[in-house]
């Protein structure tokens, strides 16, 4: 099963990078979203996939029987997902406000902070 998830991660990364390389800031958000989901899946996969073996301790036993799913990557993914949700929500708001302020979706127009004299510098 690992190969299928690995393939999915690859597709997510590829789509994400493609979106990031576009000039639209909305695609930038989508790109970040896809890549971070790919990363979450990768972390999930890092413990290896174990089917149908929850890490439960049987009654009276001290430890679960050896082949069991690793719960720690799942906890990590859960944390990363929550963080990612907040960040994406913030990024969406930011993109919306930036679009309002700049009046364009094209990243090439977001250059007022790159000029030698800045956005508020002397205009030609």
């Amino acid at each position: 099963m690992e190969w299928a998830v690995a393939l999915l991660i690859g597709v997510l990364f590829a789509c994400g990078v493609y979106c990031l390389l576009r000039r639209s800031i909305v695609r930038l958000v989508i790109g970040v979203l896809l890549i971070s989901q790919g990363a979450n899946l990768l972390v999930f996969l890092s413990g290896g996939l174990t089917l149908g073996q929850p890490p439960m301790v049987a009654q009276g036993a001290k430890a679960p029987v050896a082949p069991f799913a690793d719960p720690l990557p799942q906890a990590m993914v859960l944390t990363a997902l929550v963080i990612g949700l907040g960040l994406i929500a913030f990024l969406l708001t930011l993109v919306f406000r930036a679009h309002e302020a700049v009046g364009s979706d094209d990243i090439n127009n977001f250059d007022s902070t790159e000029q030698a004299h800045g956005a508020e510098g002397p205009k030609p």
Binding site: V32, A39, F68, P73, M76, L94, V102, S112, T113, H117
Partner: protein
């Protein structure tokens, strides 16, 4: 001698942030609370330094879980001094912000976010767990994102967009790296990772995982090919915000790189040494050249952050006791000086309504005290004796010569000269030349809101004292730097002693009858 001292620099800011979220109506309450809690945090961190220097290490296993299973909080001398300097800056900038930030912004959660930022920074310095470090980075980043974008002007939003997107990508790299490291070593505790990687440095996939983490930390630290988010965003927000960013955020990245090379992947260091030296030199050079080509005070200073980061990482790359001590000394010096320079640029902005060098001038006549205050950190940054920057650079150069890296030292000295050139440019333009005629330029009003003269004077009464304190600190470190340098030498000795760190964090190697349920990777062995 209370080992729980390690909790204070974390609990005070978060308690303050939560309390201030309750009292958002009153701007005065926000000011008092922000000052009070950042001051308490500052004193608590100084206490932490004192305790850590006596004990060597403070290790707190949260929840009482033994080391590789729970999250460890670890303070060694390096962490402690970083926490102390950051909290000192946190207090100073809060003091400054009381004068600078207007009431509307104060009610829009400035101080809660600010304290949250300090919480994240201190947490990143004190954690002993790789995934927890990721979480602290995120705490710090989300607070910094909002602080940067909250003003809502076009420049801020544009800068924030670049800052946020590149930092989010770096976080993704970090997450992937942490996941891969867990997949390979089966642990997230930094000391345990260090032990496992040292035991099997050739494990499949460890180098790519390390590389991902290296890239993630390098983005945060603004090393050479990864720094582009910094100069396009740091000059956009309020000066108080950019000052605390300039002082602390990239240094957290540098701190992570120090831990990366001296603890996590200490056994892989030979793979990274040359790369790190080359990147550091390129960082120094590109940073200082970028600074030379700009005409806005805060933008020049932003580029100087980058070039100075190169000195710290080159000290790390040399990896001798003297070099690491110099690197830590450099970090301390740089945080104070750089924050101070940004605060001064904020004062210039407040007085003149702009910090573009083409439009300000005559400050040496109209505000000679400010000229003196600028002079101290600027020359310290350039490395003029007897200020703190001289000893920092001297240490790095001496360590470089001792290691026989002549070309590195040549570049370091050359960059020092160019740094001085930029500082004299600011000096000559903002302070020396007479005020240029800017009556033809009409777009001043949205820059600083054109405050009434009376309110400027009132604001300066709050804004100037922290600058004086920081400038005094720079001079004192320069003149009486020996205790600090001795401390950094002790800290460097600890950094070079990765087994000592492991022994302090991990329990003694007895086959403890801990239920191995949480470590199935160990059961799987080396697959």
């Amino acid at each position: 001698m209370n080992p729980y001292a390690i909790l204070l620099p974390l609990m005070l800011p978060i308690i303050g942030a939560v309390l201030l979220l309750i009292f958002t109506r009153s701007a005065w309450m926000q000011r008092i609370g922000g000052l009070l809690f950042s001051a308490l945090c500052c004193f608590a961190s100084l206490y932490l330094v004192w305790v850590v220097d006596q004990l060597g290490y403070i290790v707190l296993q949260s929840g009482g879980w033994a080391a590789p299973f729970g999250i460890s909080l670890v303070a060694d001398r390096f962490s402690a001094i970083m926490v102390a300097v950051s909290s000192f800056m946190g207090f100073g900038v809060a003091w400054y912000a009381v004068g600078e930030i207007d009431e509307g912004r104060l009610r829009r959660y400035f101080f809660p976010l600010y304290l949250l930022l300090l919480f994240g920074v201190n947490g990143a310095f004190l954690t002993g767990d790789l995934f927890n470090l990721y979480v602290w980075f995120e705490v710090m980043l989300i607070a910094s994102f909002i602080l940067m974008a909250a003003g809502g002007r076009r420049g801020e939003l544009e800068g924030a967009l670049k800052y946020v997107s590149l930092n989010l990508l770096a976080s993704v790299f970090f997450l992937i790296g942490a996941g891969m490291v867990y997949g390979i070593t089966g642990t997230l505790n930094m000391a345990d990772i260090s032990a496992k990687v040292s035991a099997a440095p050739d494990a499949a996939g460890i180098l790519p995982a390390a590389m991902l983490l290296f890239v993630a930390f390098s983005v945060k630290a603004a090393l050479f090919p990864f720094f582009f988010w910094l100069p396009s965003s740091y000059h956009t927000p309020l000066p108080a915000v950019s000052a605390i960013f300039a002082g602390l955020l990239t240094k957290v990245g540098v701190y992570a790189l120090f831990r990366f090379h001296t603890l996590l992947f200490v056994s892989l260091f030979s793979h990274f040494q040359l790369l790190l030296i080359v990147l550091s030199v390129l960082t120094m050079v590109t940073g200082v050249l970028g600074a030379a080509s700009h005409f806005q005070m805060r933008r020049i200073l932003s580029f100087h952050i980058i070039s100075q980061i190169g000195y710290m990482t080159v000290a790390l790359a040399l990896m001798t006791p003297l070099a690491l001590a110099a690197g830590i000394f450099y970090l301390v010096h740089h945080i104070i000086v750089k924050t101070n320079l940004f605060l001064i640029s904020g004062v210039v902005l407040k007085i003149k309504g702009s910090d573009d060098l083409a439009r300000v001038g005559g400050l040496s006549k109209s505000a000679p005290w400010l000229a003196l205050l600028f002079f101290i950190p600027a020359f310290s940054l350039g490395g003029i004796p007897p200020l703190s920057g001289f000893w920092a650079k001297f240490g790095v150069v001496k360590a470089g010569l001792a290691g026989g890296h002549w070309w590195v030292v040549t570049f370091a000295l050359l960059v020092g000269v160019l740094t001085l050139f930029s500082m004299t440019k600011i000096w000559a333009e903002a302070f020396w030349k007479s005020q240029p005629d800017t009556s033809g330029v009409a777009d001043e009003a949205d820059e600083a809101g054109e405050p009434a003269p009376g309110s400027t004077a009132a604001a300066l009464r709050w804004m100037v004292p922290p600058i004086v304190v920081m400038a005094t600190a720079t001079v004192m470190i320069g003149l009486l730097g020996e205790p600090l340098f001795n401390y950094t030498e002790r800290a460097a000795a600890q950094l070079l002693d990765a087994p000592g760190y492991r022994a302090a964090v991990l329990p003694a190697v007895d086959p403890a009858p801990v239920v191995p349920a949480l470590e199935p990777q160990a059961l799987k062995g080396g697959n």
